[in-house]
Symmetry: C2
Subunit: 311 residues, 2 copies
């Protein structure tokens, strides 16, 4: 039994937190403005794995009432990392860990730097399709796997830690599969293998996954982008085999029509996660001496599109 906190309880944090709570773990949500509504009405999850209403929710409006916990799940946008990293130490029990569910290749460094060596920082990638609706409804469409790896300085290869194993067991008890990785950096590049082409092109071409996969030119472009992601990963000394890209393409073809998270942000008029999803991988590849021309084009296009988004 661990005690959890969920910071940034949007769709992703809310979903994993709700499932852990439903399975009997102690979970505290920092719900900010939503907190009173959730306290009164509970937290509802609608999911192909089964709907449920969580009636007793530890719903906090503010950091000040959050208790100390074993694991803080942070699921905020990268822009909030600095702020959260400065506050999260206060709600960690001795020996506690931070698990950051986020895209990009820099978030863990912010937390490791702020919290020091005594705190374990774990990076996680969520393979999930989920949205937050209204004040207390989490609508889960598909998937759910968490890919989890310990962060060591500059994303050095690590090992599976006892905390990672405990979290994985408790997630399994909540019906959530997780993949424990000894190489967080490789895991992140693997996530980018799908995330970069599909998030970018879904916004630039205004298309769902099924529309992209039904068009030969889009598939060809996705394949080129995936080759560049593999090249960026190789420049970090890690290998993603071509078969992994082919497998993802086939899997996406078989998927239900899906709007990527970037497209959901785009349609809501929100700013796009351009730096985390494309800028950081490009910068990392460039630092390793590799230019990724197609991803650079997508990056510039998305920055242009983002400049027109309201906020």
């Amino acid at each position: 039994m661990s005690a959890y906190a969920v910071i940034g309880a949007g769709a992703i944090g809310g979903f994993y937190g709700a499932r852990l709570a439903q399975s009997g773990q102690e979970v505290h949500f920092l719900f900010r403005g939503r907190a009173p509504y959730v306290s009164e009405h509970g937290l509802q999850v609608i999911s192909p794995d089964g709907d449920f209403l969580l009636t007793e929710v530890n719903s906090h409006a503010d950091w000040s009432t959050m208790p100390q916990v074993d694991v803080v799940i942070v699921a905020v946008k990268a822009g909030a990392n600095e702020d959260v990293a400065g506050r999260v130490g206060a709600i960690l029990k001795p020996g506690g860990a931070v698990m950051l569910i986020q895209n990009g290749l820099s978030g863990e460094q912010v937390f490791a730097h702020a919290l020091g060596d005594a705190v374990e920082v774990i990076g996680a990638s969520a393979f999930i399709s989920v949205v937050f609706e209204g004040s207390n409804v989490i609508r889960h469409f598909d998937f759910g796997l968490l890919s989890v790896g310990a962060y060591l300085a500059d994303y050095a290869r690590g090992e599976v830690t006892p905390t990672m194993q405990t979290v994985a067991e408790e997630l399994a008890g909540a019906g959530i599969a997780s993949g424990l990785e000894d190489d967080l950096l490789l895991a992140r590049w693997k996530k980018l293998l799908w995330n970069i082409p599909f998030n970018a092109l879904s916004v630039i071409l205004d298309a769902r996954t099924d529309e992209l996969m039904a068009n030969d030119d889009a598939v060809e472009l996705i394949s080129i982008v995936m080759d560049e992601v593999r090249a960026g990963c190789a420049a970090d000394g890690r290998e993603i085999p071509r078969e992994a890209a082919d497998f993802l393409l086939e899997g996406t073809k078989a998927m239900k029509p899906y709007s990527t998270s970037m497209r959901v942000d785009f349609e809501a008029g929100r700013h796009l996660e351009v730096e985390g999803l494309l800028g950081e991988p490009l910068a990392r590849a460039r630092a390793n001496g590799v230019e990724l021309a197609t991803i650079t084009a997508l990056y510039r296009q998305l920055k242009f599109i983002d400049s027109r988004q309201a906020g």
Copy 2:
């Protein structure tokens, strides 16, 4: 005094033909369905260089009534080249010439192949902003230069021919500046230097020229694309200096807000000129051993967008 025919009398063909006719040249327009309306109401040109109404127009609904002329100006979309090339010989006087105003790097070959060595084929690039409105109004916004070069087999370097000089003089008499080039292929690549980045990005990013030029990311991407056009041209053994690209960027910044021809087509729901503007230059570069990654990405994106256009 030459007699001219204009085939494909849309905005561009219509504009140059109307100016030649107004200056006193004999000009026959193949106006198809518009022919009766233009015969009755004339052809109206609205232009910063001066408005005029051409009341006596040789307006033809069909090839069958077109007389033989000295110069046939062909200003159709590339998709119509085969059909027009098969018919145009019948309306050429002995020693007559075809002047093709079109983008792309293949149109002249179609005409040269169909017409044989006895017919001079001239390629022209129009630097102009003009649209056709309603049944008989040509609205000219800006520019007008025609860059003109003789076509020799496989776009070998040529020379300025007497026909080119005559046409240039008669254009000058109509107030149209032309540049006589001894290297059609270089002239075409120079046109592509602007056409590829601005046409492609104006559609993909749904933006006018001024909106692109006001955004650093768009300008950076345009510069990258211009470098690739220069590389494609270099692979053809021709050189476009970097200063030419810088000059075009500065010139575009100074231009009035402008929707490219591809964007005008896009907004009208018409098919996009993807092959002529991007596909052919890419194929030519590839045949010369050069891959242009960014232009390839734009090409695939435009093909996807074009697949959604009605017709």
